[in-house]
Amino acid sequence: MDILFNLPNFISSVFSITTVLIIISGVLLGILLGALPGFGSAQSLAILFPLTFVMSTSDSLIFLLAVYSAAEYGGSIPAILIKTPGTPANAISILDGYTMAQKGEPKRALQVSLVSGVFGGLTSTIIFIISGTTLAYFGLKFGPGEMFALGIFGLSIIGTFFGKNIAKGFFATGLGMLLATVGTSGFGGMRFVFDKAFLMDGIPLVVIVIGLLACPEAFKLLVDSKNEKKIKNKISFKKIDKGFQLSFIKRLLPTWIRCSLLGTLIGAIPGAGAAIGSMIAYTQEKKWSKLTNKFGTGIDEGIAAPETANNAVVAGTLIPTLALGIPGSGAAAILIGLMISKGVVPGPFLFVDEKDLISLIFGGLIVTNLFLLFIGFFATNLFSKVTSISKKRLGCFVMVLIIIGTYSYSNYGAHVIMSLILGFMAYIFIKVNIPAIPIVLGFVMSPIIEENLNRALTIHNGDLTQVMFRPITLTILFLALVTIIYGIKTKR
């Protein structure tokens, strides 16, 4: 809570020239990448991940958070203008956003989306800092057994809710966990290295992130888009379209508050993500609003509801990610990976040992949203041009960026080849609805789970029953089982 009361100090700490430049570039790149159809926030973070190699921990975190927040807004641009959502989370914004644009008010639709997103982002940041601190306080009381159980609970949600088929979700999660066991065991032994030098140190996270998240998109852009017809962006901004007016605030405020809370809550559930958040926010707002029958006809509330929730998910996802070390989404997994690679261990101790970093993340998120509002508001026309970029041409540059980015990690060609192989695998997986994000999440979670399990077993002399049958551990494991049974019963 002390972090919240010192808000002005934290915001001022963010206002160094370097940090401001990092935030601005993060926001610009995030909007641009998010506006590209197919590029979600996780993909945007994956492709920009190599740029953080030379940055400090705080700068790299702020940069990726700025990209993450901006990409969620950027996805609404093609959804509203060309009926093609940039991210799955923006798909629902088509209903009212595209309709409003077709009626001659694209600027209004884009700016309502922007202001709603920023409101959602700011509100959820404040909730994040309050609930994150509280959750970390409880997390501090957990031993390795409980942390192991929490990891299993996180995996149960990820496997159950990612994708359309629970079997595929858990299959992918298992593969990710297995990839993480390659290399040294932490106790001197080697696992699954097959006498290959490039496997001795394990598979680097950058290879997994770029290979499984960015590479399939590059293949899609290069190969699948080659035969697609070019979409002509016929939307033009007319003078009658005055955009967002201050008078809208009073009318949209109840929608913003409801959907911010909903988005943050959904974001805090591992595996739920922005797509589910915006979908639920839209359907719930349709029930709560007085304009129920007008939803889908191009009204402000129909854009505000999903876009507020969509951006509120960003800080919501950070709650379990930073407080417990459980990533809730692909983007959160990249953030956790980044922190681990920089020597920062996410989890409850982060809120005790790295208070300055938490403050900087908090201040960074607030400032990012303010810059997003400013840049988005004045560059609406400019960003709308992104939708007319040819996908197949873009694919060429994305592919080069992927190769150079992976090579940059350790100047090792084998890593690039590993990324390409994983990318091809993920490309085929995605075609047959096997989700790739649980592989990344499984990869990030696996060492955390194994480390806690080993520690718990060592404490209890190798007796697994003593680890499992502690009250809190048992309760969390029971919840994990209930989640899986729920997934099976609902035939996901």
Binding site: F171, K226, S390, N454, T458
Partner: protein, 168 residues
Amino acid sequence: MIKLKNIQIVLFIDLFFFTFLIFLFYETSNMSKSILPGYPGDAFFPRLILLFTLFWTIILFFQKISKKFTIIKSNEDDSGMVEIYYKDIAFVFIISILYISFLEIIGFEILTSVFLFSLLVNRLDLNFKKSLYYSSILSCISMLIFWLVFIIFLRIPFPLKFLPFLIY
């Protein structure tokens, strides 16, 4: 381009990984035994994951081969066809491998330009002559941008042949 049934690909992936996971399970027998009291050994956790993943590959297999399999059912529709542009994929894959294999010998500047040119030339929707011209220019300019970002600003030591590594 080849068209395959979604279910065929899923079954292939499933059986491939089933066999591979069995092989990996066998491999765990070569891992170090526990040296610390309480520590279950290097093979313990991988075996847990292997059993977990094997369980779901078996479930997936039965889901796909039998509609009567009702223990863990899925509402997913997998009757559709999947288009795989194998020639394009193979081309991208091969030139990417060539790019990384010859990077040290030929150097970043020429190889990046050639790599980009080979990808761009078929994707510019122009006649052949114009396409050659514009893709050459675009690939050279882009190479310079990548050089500026990754080598000059980020100081990543790529093998260079004629461009400088430091300009400030």
